[in-house]
């Protein structure tokens, strides 16, 4: 009963958040000085025609109403600048599939590497492996993604010349994936380590050892299962971090994904694209957070509902 009330509350909150995001982005975009056709070498007359065609001369609340109605139908308008006349929806779907392929690889790498390293560090507390892992993870969470990208480029592409800089060449996805995975891997490592250390002191593990269970079973069956619960909560922010990391990684390695489109639509002032991508990404992140929070409550009933 309590759980279902919690879920309903969270879903309502998520809907309000998404609505708030749509509204804020829409009005902010309209506050932006100038219009998207300012840079065009067109006569005043044809500019007026374009503005009329896209309905930019109507009062703002009518435009807002129209945008909301279209959005509910999944229509986000057409791109004004970057790929003139193409639907934002199509561009997002096309390029997001590229980003998603890369993102999922990075996510899997981060989860596997992060949990493994975290376990190694947690189980060898204050010994050499722990120290090494802690040093590397501290450095890793302190590097912005473009620094990671720069290091990878200098080491793997320029000096050793073993990986191509271009995304389309074979193996070209490896460097962007590593760039995306670095921060979440290091964060997960620290999280898992702290969580393992906390669980290892619990009474029920002492009981199991006293009952004569092998250390292997104690650690890998009982301790690990409980220490991975907090990791679930990080999966939402992890998705967000991989998505936003994609802005940098994709532009550096010229991956034709959504992150690169976002950056170039910012420099090109392509309002509908910026709006579409912001709303799409935000919704994705809000939903991921929602799913993780609910999952967390289901997996660990001890968590209170307030």
């Amino acid at each position: 009963m309590q759980l279902s009330r919690y879920i309903v509350k969270r879903i309502l909150l998520a809907i309000v958040s998404i609505f708030a995001i749509v509204t804020i982005t829409f009005f902010l975009m309209n506050l932006m000085p100038g219009d998207p056709f300012m840079s065009e070498k067109a006569t005043e007359e044809s500019r007026q025609k374009l503005i009329e065609k896209y309905g930019l001369d109507q009062p703002i609340y009518i435009q807002y109403e129209k945008y909301l109605k279209n959005l509910v139908k999944g229509d986000m308008g057409t791109s004004y600048v970057l790929q003139k006349g193409r639907e934002v929806r199509t561009i997002i779907f096309e390029s997001f599939s590229v980003s998603m392929k890369l993102g999922i690889r990075a996510l899997i790498l981060a989860v596997i590497a992060g949990i493994t390293l975290g376990c190694i560090a947690g189980l060898t507390k204050d010994r050499l492996p722990d120290g090494l892992v802690r040093i590397f993870s501290s450095i890793g969470i302190s590097m912005p993604s473009y620094v990671v990208a720069a290091i990878l480029m200098i080491v793997l592409a320029v000096s050793l010349n073993i990986l191509p800089l271009n995304y389309n060449k074979p193996g070209g996805w490896i460097m962007p994936m590593l760039t995306l995975a670095t921060y979440p891997t290091c964060y997960l490592t620290r999280l898992t380590r702290a969580s393992i250390l906390e669980v290892m002191n619990q009474d029920y593990l002492r009981t199991e050892r006293a009952k004569g269970m092998s250390e292997f079973v104690v650690v890998f069956v009982h301790a690990l299962k409980n220490s991975l619960i907090p990791v679930i909560t990080y999966l939402g922010p992890l998705t967000a971090s991989i998505l936003t990391g994609g802005f940098v990684a994709e532009s550096v390695f010229s991956v034709p994904g959504l992150g690169r489109y976002f950056v170039s639509s910012i420099s090109g002032r392509d309002y509908t694209m910026i709006m579409g991508i912001t709303i799409f990404y935000s919704t994705l992140i809000v939903i991921m957070n929602l799913v993780c929070d609910i999952l967390y409550k289901i997996v660990d009933p001890r968590i209170s509902f307030e």
Partner: protein
């Protein structure tokens, strides 16, 4: 008094009740001084070698960023003729860029921007967040519920995307504002780009802080000494100033310190994608992004800004961790 042979009672004699005398515990234990909260925290912090080392690095970087440019013979936007695209040498220890600007002084300015953004944003977040959080926590009831709903909503909005959008929009109006209205002339030295970043931070990042402060206030509100102060007729202002704030300031400072690296991260990201500080101004993000374009021919140009930004974030992270452990030993893991 006659005691039964089977009695379990302890046998007591009047000797047990004579005073022990002051020398009973010896010199050592009677000399323990009372150690206050700040002193104890400072001792804990001093014992943490990593945090102290990070503090030293932060101080060195401060000198590098704020004193360094004064000692340099060049300015950040000065184009030295004939020195275009030089490798690191005695004249230009970090080399020069494509149009002959000294990269050492540009890195110093970039470090200054990162530091300023980190520290000022953290202060803004602390002020906005603690005012909002303490009002919400103290008033309670329906006001609290409404205020916390707003926090929930802002919290669930992915801020990095909105920051990009807000930053793009307020930059230009802000620019005209500080260049046309005389009252804002003083802000011109900071530049509209930086002010926009501060505003964005003030708008979005305060929610985490507000939650923490509210939680602390709610916890403290139920403690006996607060009830006692209430019973003695303590006014609300005095309650906040003298009783509530001093008791949660430690955790506030620790949280704020950990906010600094995240602010620096965001600034680096914004200037990397080209919407940070405006053009001739240098930022570590924009320096790296310029350098990455010519990575095949001049890889060394990436090295210095990349190392500097990582070093800044690393030292603030390590110092923040140490400070948190020192100020709030309960949170230590």
């Amino acid at each position: 008094m006659k005691i039964s042979a089977l009695s379990m009672q302890n046998k007591i004699s009047p000797d047990d009740f004579t005073p022990l005398g002051s020398d009973f515990f010896g010199e050592e234990s009677l000399n323990t001084e009372e150690v206050g909260y700040w002193k104890a925290s400072w001792q804990r912090l001093k014992a943490n070698k990593i945090a102290m080392f990070a503090l030293v690095i932060i101080v060195v970087l401060m000198f590098f960023a704020f004193i360094g440019p004064m000692l340099s013979p060049y300015t950040y936007d000065q184009q030295v003729r004939g020195d275009e695209g030089m490798w690191p040498c005695l004249k230009h220890p970090f080399g020069t860029d494509r149009i002959g600007r000294d990269l050492l002084v540009r890195c110093m300015i970039g470090t200054r921007i990162s530091m300023l953004v980190g520290i000022v944003s953290a202060v803004i977040v602390m002020i906005v967040g603690s005012i909002y959080g303490s009002i919400s926590g103290l008033i309670g009831g329906k006001v609290d519920i409404a205020m916390m709903r707003l926090v929930d909503i802002v919290y669930s909005i992915p801020e990095i995307l909105l920051i990009v959008v807000i930053k793009m929009i307020i930059s230009e109006p802000l620019d005209t504002l500080i260049n046309t209205v005389p009252a804002f002339y003083g802000l011109r030295r900071i530049g509209s780009g930086l002010i926009a970043i501060f505003l964005v931070y003030g708008c979005l990042y305060w929610v985490g802080m507000a939650r923490i402060v509210r939680g602390q206030i709610l916890q403290l509100k139920n403690l006996e000494y607060v009830t006692a102060a209430n019973a003695l007729g303590c006014s609300r202002g005095r309650m906040i100033r003298e009783h509530l704030l001093p008791n949660c300031i430690g955790q506030l400072i620790a949280t704020v310190m950990l906010q600094i690296p995240s602010a620096i991260f965001t600034e680096a990201f914004l200037s990397y994608i080209g919407i940070g500080v405006a053009a001739p101004m240098a930022s570590l993000g924009s320096l790296t992004s310029e350098a990455l374009n010519g990575i095949n021919s001049n890889p060394y140009r990436v090295v210095f800004p990349a190392i500097l930004i990582s070093l800044i974030i690393l030292s603030f992270n390590l110092f923040g961790d140490g400070l948190r452990d020192a100020l709030d030993p309960k949170m230590k893991k």
